[in-house]
Symmetry: D3
Subunit: 136 residues, 6 copies
């Protein structure tokens, strides 16, 4: 059993706002992330899959297929997008790094074959990242 | 004569659009950067100053003053902002990395004392950066 | 359940010496780290907390509170300090990276609320780091 | 119980080919990695050991011994080598990053004393890495 | 006048050998790089161009064209290749990082339009790099 | 003419103090760097040499000689040392990063042969570095 991780990057903008909060609550809880003009990030995504090594190829997963799934399900959907306005699941969920990791897990999980999804890590900045393992 | 460089980071969103271009030109020239919803980046800024080393302090510049000027003139003005909508000089200039470097030079140049501004470097992503030395 | 990690940096000096060892043992076991003048490092700290995502805020932890706790309990106590001479627990424990990770865990554990401390990682250099999960 | 990780780097070349595959299969499965002239990488190796902290030294493992074992068992055997031609276990196993991680585990496991081998991580590029924990 | 730099990566293998040297000289001068089986690297390439910012686009160079030229002239020619055996100019020149930087300059110089080539930087490892500015 | 740069790292401690300043001036000018117990850093050193490429070897400088000079003149003298107490030139000069870069230039300049010293860069942290080119 080995674990293989592939990185990719995408750029997106977002802002944090909950209609159920008062303006004062939104400001206190979200600070300058509440600015409705939005701000952006270069996100780094790490996708880890696990499985047995195929003895004939030496691979745990077809790297090209993994790259294609990551590109189609995540990069094309999110790169150079405004997460709140252009990515369906963030119309009514706040696009925090936590929710972004869960969203990416849900997008990738049904599309991966052979190897099993183990972890999704999302860096919002080099100093802040979130891991999701599919745990309830 | 020594050169001292200090890094800082900020997050912002932007998009590229020139009203004088046709829609087709905007799309061809700017590609997915033309999306009016904007997208974002973690920018890294490197500011280099040069000067003689003060024999009494061993410093070429007061680091705290340099940090304060960078924070006040650049970080506070641009971090968590939408460059097109919230930074004055980009209302009628396209906020490319090239123009961002020039803009930051113009903001810092008149505020630095003792040490002389030598170079402004702006990374849009880890793989793309622009340098400006104040050359016409 | 998600895991969120925040990085911070601090600079400190230390040396390794055990009064119960002979001079020869101190030299053999600690090598040039035994130099009583001390030497220093830029430490990088990664603090990982885990918890459920709050559905209203999208956060697993208030990032500002996490930053404040890390600053107050670790950075202010250790940054620009001599660990052997100025940090209480290292008066009679050797400030190795292993002991530093355990010490930082013990400082943070009682101060974190809502989210649970999961891991403390300390990089002494980019090529050497220690993880502590609170395991006996 | 703490976990200590040490990094090292080595440069090697390899190519992917399975004699049991047809030429077409080798090309389809391995792509440009099938080029028999080989190509190379700067590999980064991370070795993690775990154990109790020795109360007298503050160490979980003698860092010099760990470095010596890594150098002797891995770096000297693989650095500036052609993996297919010069490293025994890859004469009949494809030197993918997956197999390289398993090979390094098998080389280090019997040589480590006091501290227990926990994980071998191998980066083929900054964007692709494999972890092996000795799991069947 | 601004300077824009774009990074790219490629993997290649090589070895160092001069037929005019004796075996002993080759070994003494090139050390383990003289191994005829070759060894490899992940090279990082930085290409810097300079020019005036186009007032209408805000660009100093069309980034897509720059990327295409770098891909066609360098990456496709060198990635996953054995430099000595598969890249024409290294049949009779030693593929040191110095010569690689000069070779890449010569490949790019005649293909760049509008913006002028300013510098080619090649990293052989994160700790060793060469710059070439086209100076005799 | 090519420029070759080699990196190395060393760890040291220091503090900033000028006997000619009052206690209040030392505190105001040097802040927490004035703490007489000292604090430390992992310094990164980049040494750049320039010269013609030797047509027979493909090298601008013998890398082993360059490494040996850097080790002997800088790393052995400063690694795991207290700069104020153990490095001669800092007994009466404040070991700022500026002065450290000048000191390293003066140590290396007379020892390099064939290739000419072009630049010394010293990173005190990843966010702060100083360049010295030997300019008065």
């Amino acid at each position: 059993m080995v674990y293989l991780t592939r990185k990719a990057e995408f750029s997106a903008s977002h802002f944090y706002h909950n209609d159920e909060f008062t303006a004062e609550e939104n400001q206190r809880i979200f600070g300058k992330c509440n600015n409705p003009n939005g701000h952006g990030h270069n996100y780094t995504l790490e996708v880890t899959v696990k499985g047995q090594v195929d003895q004939r190829s030496g691979f745990v997963v077809d790297l090209k297929q993994l790259k294609d799934v990551m590109n189609r399900e995540v990069i094309e959907a999110m790169d150079h997008r405004h997460l709140n306005k252009e990515v369906a699941e963030f119309r009514d969920r706040i696009p925090t790094t936590e929710n972004l990791a869960i969203s990416i897990w849900n997008r990738l999980k049904p599309k991966l074959q052979v190897a099993e999804l183990h972890r999704v890590r999302v860096y919002e900045t080099p100093d802040l990242f979130v891991d999701f393992y599919g745990e309830e």
